[in-house]
Every structure is written in structure tokens, then in C-alpha cells.
Amino acid sequence: MKLSRRTFLKTSGIATAGIAAATAGPEKFLLWAEEAGLIQATYVPTFCEICFWKCGAIAKVLNGRVVKLDGNPVHGNSRGKLCARGNGGIGLLYDKDRLKTPLINVGKRGEGKYRKATWDEALGVVAEKMKGIREQYGPEAMAIFTHGAPTDHFLPLLSAYGTPNVGMPSFAQCRGPRDVGYELTFGEGPGSPERVDLVNSKVMVLIGSHLGENMHNSQVQDFAEAIGRGSKLIVVDPRYSIAAGKAEQWLPIRPATDLALLLAWINIIITEGLYDRAYLDQYAEGFAELAREVSHCTPEWAAKETDLPAAQIVETARMMGHNAPAVTIHPGRHATWYGDDVQRSRAMAILTALLGSWGRSGGMFFATKASLPKGESKPFPEPTKASLNGGGYPFAGAEGVTQAIRTATITGAPYPLKGWFVSGTNLMKSLPNQQETVDAIAKLDLLVVVDVMPMDLTMMADVILPECTYLERHDALAIGKGKSLSVSLRQPVIKPLYDSQPGWWIAKELAKKLDLGEYFPWNSYEEKIKAQCKTGGISYDDLKKLGCLTIPDTSAPYITPENQPTFKTESGKIQLYSKELKEKGFDPVPVYVRHPLPPEGFFRLTYGRSSVHTFSRTTNNPALNELYKENEVWINANKAKALGFSSGDYAVLVNQDGAKSNRIRVKATQRIREDMVYMVHGWGSLGKELSRSGRKGADDQGLITKYAVDPIAGSTGMRVNFVKLQKEG
């Protein structure tokens, strides 16, 4: 049967047999009992997984129930504070819609008909199918798609099985082009958390980055601290974001023209002599070529492209130049916009270099060179066939080009892909063009999903393996490399609820059934962590008690006469002009190319984040859903009026290819340009299994049928779709 999105939509409403109704109502008198001295709280440190920032948290437990999460004061990513989502982690733990038992599909794929199974049976089915695939097609016919903590368990499993095919949306649908752009310039990426020295900056520059709404705990703490200390903020964003509301200079740029602005800034800084000559002489090469290539990028030229006043372009360039090197050009994070994203990121890196900000106080600092060894494991078998991860893109990263694996699954070339193992990512929401995802899944003999919640992709799986939440399990140690090295422990606060299991246990048990048990030689994950601590010379007992250990610093964050930087580029110098790119046939200095603009009656579709949600994964969390129950489409108030919409009305969005969205509320506002609309990503889930967020709001990814692939890194630009607003019905 050919499974289309439409049939999936139609059938997803059918009741899902097997999901037991559990009673997890709030226990109302725990705090009262505590206050009356009848019960005593216990506190367990761990780290958060509501997003990927890995903030240290301390869970307060009363009578076996988690009642509060606080930031861990000794943890560098949280410093005693959690964001709304981290505070709301309890909502996930006690969400009645959680996956509760292993489920085996008994209907057509995507129909949502499941039956309960034991772990032994469910893992048996998966193992049998995986063995069958290996026998018939070879181990490379399995691919893993993964994100976050589960990766530490399931990537080793699939590597032991023998496949080289791994796709992480965090590369080709997110940070990939940014990292590649910085690597080509400085020989390394900006890191995660990005090594932005905001607190010491005099000027901060955000380009399309909406810190605050994009809630990365310690970084936003630094951002607010910097504002409090009087650092001047320049925000380039076509939308008046929270950050823009704090900016000294807001540049409401025409979408898709950021590179023109960056090249003009570079040109101004060069022609006005505002660059750090001594720094460049010592550490960089290609200045003359750069100056030549950008000489035509005048403020007037950029003004026409960007729809910004030339005077503002000049003024902001001077602000940076006069405050250098204490200028943080934030590298951004989700950088997959228009398909020339490596070059835009490179322009940001070049600007950083011109200002001498890389390795300087107030700019970008260097990470510690210290590390914690991972611990030995049996070497994985050498794959017999070449990996498809690179997708033929010369600078694709090790995280894999997800959509290239998807394409290979559809075409069966260069070899068949018959099984997908998915953990920690809802591919229906993370990959553009959902039809391709559906088409690829239709080619599979096996789709296994490990998840906590019944997300869209999960409910298309043949076998669903319910992982317990981060508050109920051990995971790999988090090794943080900021100004110092930190080691954080995730440990169970309470035992797994229902019949859910930790990822490590699922991987280990499945490995046994695949005769790969020797890759998981420990009895419990705690045992493995203890061994790692011992090898690394840190005390597991201290770690367990404190949740996080910071290793005395071994690095220096800034350039000094004694602390000279190393650049892992071909020549060992900062590449203002990239010979590497030139050799592969790309522009050695970024060149601005005009992107198509929305046709009459259409708006460019852009998307972003809400401070209380992490993509689709938190949409159903009662504690967070309460604060943001469905997404809205932001449209300029004048345009909305002309189209007959008021704030609060429902509209349907239709894109250039005729793809239609769920109904979505209109937010008619002055906070956005007239040529675009904006929405928070992750909404419009298909299924009824999510009782709060299912079918609520519109799915931006459903409207992203078109994507622009970056020829350098293979990442997918996803801001190239145009939509119009229609009345409901």
C-alpha cells in the first residue's frame, strides 16, 4: 500500500488500542503535608532534557512524586535557574498521554492501530526484522535518525550492527551550515553552547537569532546580564522579536538578503579602516582578496537589497568597528534558511575575524582543552559499503545529511535502505517536504521509533518502544566544554512509570537479541558511568551528590602572548579567502545572490521558537501547553486588514504548491514586515494521541514543500516557501 499523508491524516483519528488510561492526577496535599511536617522532601540532582542545553536541575521529591525542579547552582548551564520549559519538566513526567507500553502495529502503517506488547515480544520483532534486513540486503540497509541523549545508546547499537548510515537533523536542518562556515574560516565551529562572550561585550549582534524566545538558559542569562551592563545590541530581524525590543539598533531586514548586509558591513569596516590590522597580520590570510571581492558592496547597494537605510548600515558597522574587539557577532544556531547558508555563516565569521573578536574578551572565547575519556568499548565492525551520510556534498559533517538518506531510501540507489531506527527526533516535523518522508517510509520493511510521547512519526512506526523520561533514567555523562570542563550526571529521580524503560536498557536488550551483547558488557548504565569516572579520575560519589563537577580550568579563553591560538585550517591561519572552497568550485569569498521574492498576494513563510516550547516535543506538556496552546500566524496588521483578518480569527495557509495548513489563529501586528508571515515551529500534530496539542495550530513543516539545498554542506534551506492566507472552510 502506498501510504500518503492524506490517508495518514484520515486514519490517524482512529482510536489507538493499547494505550492504557492511567491515573496520574495531581496529588493536592503533598505541600500541605510537608509544611505540617508529616513528610520530608528529598532532593536529587540530574540534568534537563526538555531541550538540548543540558542544564543542571535539582528535583524535589515528596512521597515518591516529583513536585518541583530547580536549577542546580553548581551547574554552569543553569547557575541555579531553569527556564520555563525546564521548570515544566514535571509536566512531561506526568503527562497522561505518554507512551506507556511497547506497541506493535496491527493495521496498515500510519493507521494508528496498535496492540500492547511485552518488551520481550516487541524487541523480538525488531530483532528478527533487523536480522532479516541484514541477511537479505546487508547491515547498511538500516539507517538511524537520532538526536539528543538517546544517540549515546542507539548509535553504538546500530554501529555494532554494522551500518554506517546515520542522519541527525541537527546538522542538515539546523546548525550544519553555520558550523561548516566557521570551520572553513577558523578551523573550528562556534561550539554548543556557542562560545559567545556576551557578558564582556560592548556590542552584541544578533542576525535572525531571537534570544529570549530562543531560550538557551545560560546564554540568555548572559544576554540579559550584558544588557544590564549596558552592552549595545544590534538586532537584524524582519520581525520585532523580544530581542529586537531591547535593541539600540533594530534592522528590519528584507528576508533572504542578510548576506548583502554582511558584505556591506565588511566593506565599510575595511574601507573605513575599522578592522584590527595587527590581529589580521598575525593570524589571517586573504585580506587583499577579500577587500577586492567586497569592494562593490556599498551601503547604498545593500540598502536597495535589504530595504534598510544606508545610513543605518553605516552607523551599525561603525558601532562594531569602534567597539572592537569586544563585539559578539552571535553565530546563530538554526541556520538553514536559503540554501546559501554556509556562505552567510562564513560572512559572519569573516566579520568576526576583521573585528579581531575571535579569542578576545567580549567576542568569542576559546574552549577548554581538557576532556574526559569516554571509556573503552569493543571496536565496531568496518562497514562493507560506503556511507550515504555525506550525500555527495563536499563539506557535509559527520552528523549526516538526513534528506540524502531519505532520498536513497526512496530511490533504492546506490543500494536499498529497508529499515529506519529513529530516536529522539520527530522526522515529520524536522525534515522538509513531508511527502518525501512518507514516500520513504512506504519503502521500508521496518520503522522502529523510540520515544517518550506519541509524536507524528512515532505513530507511523511498526514497533514503538516507550522510553521513560529524563527524570527516570541514567544517560551518558554530559561533558561541557566552555571556559572550563564540566561533567554532569543524569540519574533517575524516580523509577520509570508504566512499562517504559531507559534508552540504555532498550539498546542493551535489543543488542542481546541481535547477538551483539558484547558491545554492552556492563549490567547497568550506572556501572558504565562509574567506570568512566574512575578512568577520568573524578569521584562518582561527588558527582552523584552534586550533579555536576567542574574540573579546575586548564585553558585560557582569550589570546595572550602566552596563549596563542591555533587554527585548524589548511594553512593554520584564519581564511578570509578560502582556498578550500575555491578548489571545490565554490566562491572563496561569499557572493550575494538575489533570492526569489514572494509573488503578488503571497508572503514568505518564516518560523521560529517560543520561549515555552521546544519544537513539537513540548507542545502537549500540560505545564507548557497552558502558556501557549496553539501557534499563531504573525502578519503585518495593515496586510491583515486588507485581507479581512483580525487578530484571533482563524486562517488557513496555502503555499505555492497548493499545500494547505490546519487552521491557525491570526496575530495581526505591527511587529512584522509586510512581505512575510511568521509562526512558531512544531505545531499542527496529526494525531489524537496528543490530547492537548493534537490538531492544534498549523504545521510550518507541512508548508515547507520546497527546500533549497546548500551545495557546500547539503543542508536544507527552509525559508523559501511562500504562502497566502485564506478564510477557513
Binding site: 530547580d70 536549577g71 529570549g212 540579559a224 497552558e626 511587529r671
Partner: protein, 186 residues
């Protein structure tokens, strides 16, 4: 005797809502009810816009209309530290205080039936901790302390700042102060 107060440095708020969620967990606030909120207000026309992010909560007024209007004596202002509190067992849920409060800081707890509001996390203060919203405030926008202690965070925050209170004309004498603008020329 401490004289507790809060300062909201609005310049540092990023409207992340951490305070709202922390408060709800800390105090078992029922779904759809809030002891504190963050308002996001924008005025002007594109592209000349201005934004105000404002955390609101009980102002623990020195001249508290909720206390004066409580017919049962459930609402009171504690002499020792000036926190406005409620004796739950004396509250009959009549809503007089809800109506009297010009800041909409009170609600009738729909799970428990009595009037409810911010207590400055009285129970945490006893343990030497800050209120939950302050402890988790990502931007250090919420600042708490003793107005009588010149070295307290609130006094330091207010020093030289252009601080205001909400609805000053109402004569309620709030103990929550707002800093909107940078005092030095920007």
C-alpha cells in the same frame, strides 16, 4: 524586622516565563490560574515600535484594599515583614478581595475554594531561600530583599534608578517597584 519588597528590572526581562512556571509548581497553583504573569506590550507602527515586558504579581501594598475589604479577617498584612497573606481557614471565597485588588493579583483557587495570591513564597523565606520566581529568573530581572537593609539587592537595584510603582494614583503604596528605563543617557 525585614521589610520585604521586590524590584522588577524590566530592562533585563526576556519574557521567558520561567517565573510563571516555577511559581505554579512551587505553590500548586491550579491550571489556568496564576499568581504571577508576564505581560508583553508593544506600541507604535512598523518599524517605529516600543516594547514593554512587565511581570505582575501581588504588590504587597502598605495600604492594601484587599485586607480592608475582607469581611472575615482572612486577609491580613503581617506586621513583622509587611507580606500580605491569607488565613485559608477563615476565607469563605466571597471574592471581595478579588474585586478590591486594582492589580488583579488575586483569584479564587478553583480546586480549593479559597482566595489565593502571591505570598512572596513565605515558606521559602523561612528556609532562607528567595521566592521561586526570583530564584529562577533567567534575566535577574526579579530582585527581592529587605527595604530596610541598605545592602539588600532591592536597595542596591533601586539606587539611582528611575523606579515606579503600578497605579501610583490608587494610593495603595505597593512594595513591588519597576525599573523601566536606563537612568543614564543611553
Amino acid at each position: 524586622m525585614p521589610k520585604y519588597a521586590m524590584v522588577i528590572d524590566q530592562r533585563r526581562c526576556v519574557a521567558c516565563m520561567a517565573c510563571v512556571v516555577a511559581c505554579k509548581n512551587e505553590n500548586e497553583v491550579p491550571p489556568e490560574q496564576y499568581r504571577t504573569r508576564v505581560l508583553e506590550m508593544v506600541e507604535g507602527e512598523f518599524p517605529l515600535l516600543r516594547m514593554e515586558l512587565r511581570s505582575e504579581l501581588c504588590n504587597h501594598c502598605d495600604n492594601p484594599p484587599c485586607v480592608y475589604n475582607c469581611p472575615t479577617g482572612a486577609s491580613y498584612k503581617r506586621k513583622e515583614d509587611g507580606i500580605v497573606l491569607l488565613r485559608k481557614n477563615r476565607c469563605v471565597g466571597c471574592k471581595a478581595c478579588v474585586a478590591a485588588c486594582p492589580y488583579s493579583a488575586r483569584y479564587i483557587n478553583h480546586e480549593k475554594g479559597f482566595a489565593d495570591k502571591c505570598t512572596f513564597c513565605d515558606h521559602r523565606l523561612k528556609e532562607g531561600k528567595e521566592p521561586a520566581c526570583v530564584a529562577t529568573c533567567i534575566g535577574k530581572s526579579r530582585i527581592f530583599g529587605d527595604m530596610d537593609d541598605p545592602k539588600s539587592p532591592v536597595r542596591l537595584a533601586l539606587k539611582g534608578a528611575d523606579a515606579t510603582v503600578l497605579l501610583e494614583g490608587a494610593g495603595t503604596k505597593p512594595r513591588v517597584f519597576y525599573i523601566k528605563k536606563f537612568s543614564k543617557p543611553e
